[in-house]
Structure formats: structure tokens, C-alpha cells
Amino acid sequence: VSILEQVNEIFRKVLDTPALLIAASTTAKDVPEWDSLTHVELIVALEKQFKIKFTAREVRKFQNVGEMCETIAQKMHAL
């Protein structure tokens, strides 16, 4: 299962949108449920799923789903 697919699954669960389909280019603007509060829940859920920790700068900087996935991949690679 690719990182994007796993991330998509987390998004569905946290945002309670079972049919949500995200791509690397998806941003918060594209998903109404993705606001500053659910963003925090997403970050925490992703950290648990991939057993990684984001830095505060990373959390603030993410422009889209693709950047999230890249950071996750780098961190998992470093383990």
C-alpha cells in the first residue's frame, strides 16, 4: 500500500468522509472538512500511523498532500 493510499485512509477517518479521494496536489481548499482544527488531528493521526514526528515548521509549511507524503517518506527512510 502506497503512502498516499495510507494517508488517504487517515483523511477519510479523521475527516469522516468515507468517499474522499485525495491526490498529491490536493490542498485544504479542496476539502471543506480540512480546517485548522482537523489539520491538527490529521497530523497527530499521521504521526501515529507512520511512527514518525513532524517538526512544527513542517506542520506549518505543508502546502498540499504531496508535500506531506514526501516528508513522511523521507522520515521513514531515515529510520
Binding site: 479523521v14 469522516d16 482544527l37 491538527v40 497527530v44 493521526a45 513532524f54 517538526t55 512544527a56 506542520v59
Partner: protein, 556 residues
């Protein structure tokens, strides 16, 4: 402990069968997630909790406290982060704690009912090191002064309840630093269920929901080993094996007993063998005198728990059952879903910290009668035994030599009256729950009835409150402990109400029955006492009132 995601998914579920409650949430940091967690945690505890949260900017708490639409119950959450900022800006650091406590005092007098205030988790500012304790104006010194000052305030102010964040933070991390810096969310996602569960526990206790009884298994729960197989001397107790862990669990149960929780035993054993350690083992901490109902036999545990419930006359939802055997736990959960059956950890040394962490015995009130409860229930089983010897009800009632006192509200009985009001669910006509403050401010007369008989004192067992409405005396409250059902206390109370209402020149006694999930018992109460139905109310004409017969005397 459910996760925040699980609490959030509760929000879509059906709350309609649950008791409704409203709480205001005032805070100096973002409250949206906490409000969701609170409502979700309410679902876990079968409470339809509506959380009213406002803005969280500077001065918002004070502003919202002036709002007349504020619910009776208010949660105020001031974060340690904001507290620390204020400390840093404070010109007079040595008096910072005193000033903060003064501010909390103002909150207390501003809330319409109860205030739930969260105290502060310990947080090191890394300035003085261990020397901080020696410096009065250090952050550490002032923070601790605030927490101990809050405890003092709570002891002095009946309507202040502390949610103990300082204690919760010793077992759960409070903050996710990265989230706290980048947003205004100062509780981590994983801490939200912890603090929400704790707050809802206090709210439930304020509404009269608390556990009254702890039922315990014996073999491998209260001691290590099986008494029937291993024999008295080989039980793991005291220094033997894991004895220390079992001893500590017993010591905890004993402290609960002293606090007023009823202890009962449910064990698959021969009664004589099961009682032996309580009577003869030198390292047993619990003794037979600590146990209100001892149920050791070979029947199934659900039946035994039903029997214990019948003797104690309490609801299954106020009982906790602990048993090391997963199969027994399963059976009881299936048959008695209302009963609380904690899962136990695998290792017996973890039983006690696990159970303590569940906070099963939250309460909103204590009185000195709590400590005597076990004794009273033991007397109750003697009365049960006596009753079976009489063919005739009247003869039995006479043989009890009952005596009652009826008095108004006094400083001495006030906490007891308030507490009985919180506890009574079944024999409670209108289920209006008054706090001590509210009772003190009532206009109409209060009747507090104490009862004793040849086996001992029952203490305060019934409360009634009248409200004058022209020539009608409206019975605002009539409640009674179910331990004294069928003793004629209702007749005695009615005579007292009728006499007082007549003395005040009123012609009618007017009663009302407001049904709840638990007070079916008194649906026909007024009809039985000769009241006539009038719309939704019940009326009794006092002009031709004949005092009703009972067998309760007055004390010499």
C-alpha cells in the same frame, strides 16, 4: 480510555435516552475540540451533555460570566501557558498566587450554580533549578501555592469543584508542544479524552450519579491463589508471593469503605471456606466487619449480583464488580449491562493502579453518615431476618420500636439533606436536586426526617419541602431512602406536612409526580395517600384531614 476520534464519532449517535445536562465552557484558549470531547465523553457515561462555549480572547471569561444565560454548571479552564505569561508580566511576583486565587474567588461568586475549575499541571520554567522552592517569588513556588490554594478554596466553597489536572498530568502528557506553539490548542489530542472523562465524571456526580458499591471476587482478586485448593497458609498475602499487591488492593477497598462505599463479596466457594481468611489470616486487611453482603456459593455470578442488589436496594448502575476471571466478567456484562465491570490488566500487580486510574468513585458530596453505611446495611440484613419471623405486618412494625424526629433545616443536617437529594432516585417524586446553597436560600419549610429502631439509627431517611402558593401548600420535594420502604414513614411525613400547612392557614396540599427512568416506584404515591387527581397534579383537602396511622413514635 477511548481515543479522541472515538469520542468524536459518538457525536453522531443517539443521545435521546440519556439524562440531559448543560454546561458552560469558559476558557482562555481554543475550546472547540474540548467541547467535542466533553459531549463525546458524556455519551460514554450516558449523559446528553450540551456544552455551551463562547469566545476565548482576553477578558472573555469575565465578560461571559456576566451573561444571564449562563448554565447552572460552568467549567472554567485557564491554561498553565496563559498563567505563565501573566506571571512573567506580573510586577509583583511574590503575590501572584494570592492575586490569582482572588480572581478565582470572583469566578465562584459570579457563577449561578456550580463551578468546575481546572487546576494547573506542574511546569518547570528552568530558571532557579531545585532552588526554586526556596524563592517565594519563583514560578514554581507561586504555581504550587495556586494549586494548594485552590484545594483550600474547594474545601471552603461548596459550589467549587476542582478538576485535578495536576494529578492527571502525572500519568498523561497534557500538551503537544508543536501543536501548542502553532495553534491555540493547549491540550494534546490524546489528552482530550482524559480531561473530558474527568470533567464529565464530576458533572455526573453533581447530577447524583455515582457508584455506591464495590463487589469483589476472592480467589486471585483479593488474594493470590485459590483458598479451596491451596489452603489458608498458602494464599499469597503479606510477604508471600505477590501478597503485597493484593494487600494494597485490600487497603484501597478498606479506605473506600471508610469513605462510604459499600463492599460486597461475590465468590464461587463454600461460604465457610471463603470466610476463613477474613477471620483467621493475619495478613488480611479486609475483615468480615468491612463487608456488607458476603455472597459465596456455586450459583452464577449474575444471580449473586442480583441478590446483592436486592439486599442493598441500589441500582445496578451504582455497582462496580471486579473479578480476575474474564469469563465471569463477560457473563456479568452480558446479563447485567448497566453494571460497571472494569477489564483487569493481565498482571495482578497492575490491578490497583489500573483501578485507581479509572476514577470509578467520583463524588460531589461527603457526609459523616457515609462512613457508617456498612454498619447500617449489616443491620438491614438483621431486620430482613427478623421480618421473616412475623406473619403479620403490623406486629413486625411494632416489634421494631421505631422512633422518628422531624426537624427543619439546620447547619448540622444541611449537608445530609443535600446529599440525600443527590442520591435518591427511586423514591423521589419530582427529582429536583438542590445544592447546599440553594437549600439555604429556599423560602418554604424543609422537613428532615431521621429514623431509628431497635437495631440502630437509620440517620436522615426522608426530606420534604413545601412551597406556599396562596392557600395551597405545594410539595416541591418529597423523597425517601428506599431502605425504609413499607415502614409507615410516608404516613408520618404526610401528617407532618398536613399539620404544618394547616398551621400556616393553608387549605390544600398539592403534589406532583414527575416521571424519570428510575422513579416508577412512586407513580401512584399520591393516589395511595388519598390525594385526588386534578389535571397533572394531586390535591388533598386539609379541612377534613385525619392523621394517618403508623407505628413510629417520637424519641423519649
Amino acid at each position: 480510555m477511548p481515543t479522541f476520534a472515538e469520542l468524536k464519532s459518538n457525536l453522531k449517535k443517539d443521545f435521546s435516552r440519556f439524562q440531559a445536562a448543560r454546561a458552560g465552557l469558559l476558557a482562555d484558549s481554543a475550546t472547540q475540540l474540548l467541547a467535542q470531547a466533553l459531549r463525546g465523553a458524556g455519551y460514554e457515561q450516558q449523559l446528553d451533555l450540551t456544552v455551551v462555549a463562547g469566545d476565548t480572547g482576553e477578558g472573555e471569561i469575565e465578560r461571559q460570566l456576566l451573561d444571564s444565560r449562563l448554565p447552572e454548571l460552568v467549567i472554567i479552564y485557564e491554561s498553565v501557558e496563559k498563567l505563565f505569561q501573566r506571571f512573567q508580566q506580573s510586577p509583583a511576583r511574590e503575590s501572584f498566587a494570592a492575586e490569582h486565587l482572588e480572581r478565582v474567588r470572583k469566578f465562584i461568586s459570579a457563577v449561578p450554580g456550580r463551578l468546575l475549575y481546572l487546576n494547573f499541571p506542574e511546569r518547570d520554567d528552568g530558571v532557579f533549578g531545585n532552588f526554586a522552592s526556596k524563592v517565594r517569588g519563583s514560578w514554581i513556588s507561586q504555581l504550587r501555592r495556586i494549586n494548594s490554594g485552590l484545594a483550600n478554596l474547594a474545601q471552603e466553597q461548596a459550589n467549587l469543584f476542582i478538576c485535578d489536572l495536576a494529578l492527571l498530568s502525572t500519568t498523561h502528557p497534557v500538551t503537544d508542544r508543536k501543536v501548542a506553539v502553532t495553534t491555540d490548542l493547549l491540550f494534546s489530542i490524546d489528552f482530550l479524552p482524559v480531561v473530558a472523562g474527568s470533567l464529565v465524571g464530576i458533572i455526573g456526580a453533581c447530577l447524583g450519579r455515582f457508584k455506591k458499591c464495590l463487589v469483589m471476587d476472592l480467589d486471585n482478586t483479593l488474594w493470590g491463589g485459590v483458598i479451596g485448593d491451596d489452603g489458608l497458609e498458602n494464599l499469597e498475602l503479606g510477604e508471600l508471593g505477590l501478597g503485597k499487591a493484593f494487600g494494597q488492593l485490600q487497603a484501597w477497598a478498606k479506605q473506600l469503605r471508610e469513605r462510604g462505599i459499600i463492599l460486597a463479596i461475590s465468590s464461587k466457594n463454600d461460604e465457610r471456606i471463603a470466610k476463613e481468611p477474613f477471620e483467621r489470616h493475619p495478613d488480611m486487611i479486609l475483615r468480615l466487619s468491612d463487608i456488607a453482603v458476603f455472597s459465596a456459593n456455586w450459583e452464577n455470578k449474575a444471580d449473586n449480583l442480583r441478590r446483592i442488589r436486592d439486599i442493598l436496594e441500589i441500582g445496578f448502575d451504582s455497582m462496580v464488580f471486579i473479578d480476575d476471571n474474564p469469563a465471569e466478567r463477560d457473563l456479568v456484562r452480558r446479563e447485567l449491562p448497566e453494571l460497571c465491570v472494569p477489564e483487569l490488566p493481565e498482571d495482578p500487580v497492575d490491578y490497583l493502579p489500573y483501578l485507581q486510574g479509572l476514577n470509578l468513585f467520583e463524588t460531589a458530596q461527603l457526609s459523616s453518615e457515609d462512613a457508617r453505611r456498612t454498619e447500617r446495611y449489616q443491620q438491614e440484613s438483621q431486620r430482613h431476618a427478623l421480618r421473616s419471623g412475623f406473619a403479620d405486618e403490623e406486629e413486625f412494625l411494632r416489634s421494631l420500636s421505631m422512633k422518628a424526629t422531624v426537624e427543619g433545616l439546620t447547619a448540622f443536617n444541611l449537608p445530609r439533606v443535600a446529599q440525600l437529594g443527590q442520591r435518591s432516585n427511586q423514591f423521589n417524586l419530582r427529582t429536583v436536586r438542590y445544592s447546599e446553597d440553594e437549600l439555604r436560600n429556599l423560602k418554604g419549610p424543609v422537613f428532615a426526617i431521621h429514623l431509628e429502631d431497635r437495631f440502630g439509627a437509620h440517620g436522615l431517611i426522608s426530606v420534604a419541602i413545601l412551597e406556599e402558593r396562596g392557600d395551597e401548600a405545594f410539595i416541591d420535594t418529597w423523597l425517601m431512602s428506599c431502605r425504609v420502604l413499607k415502614r409507615g414513614v410516608e404516613a408520618l411525613v404526610l401528617n407532618a406536612l398536613a399539620a404544618e400547612a394547616s398551621r400556616r392557614g393553608m387549605r390544600w396540599l398539592v403534589g406532583e409526580y414527575l416521571p424519570t427512568r428510575k422513579n416508577e416506584l412512586v407513580r401512584d404515591h399520591y393516589e395511595r395517600l388519598g390525594f385526588a387527581r386534578a389535571g397533572g397534579l394531586w390535591r388533598l383537602d386539609l379541612r377534613d384531614y385525619q392523621p394517618r396511622k403508623h407505628f413510629i413514635g417520637s424519641p423519649a
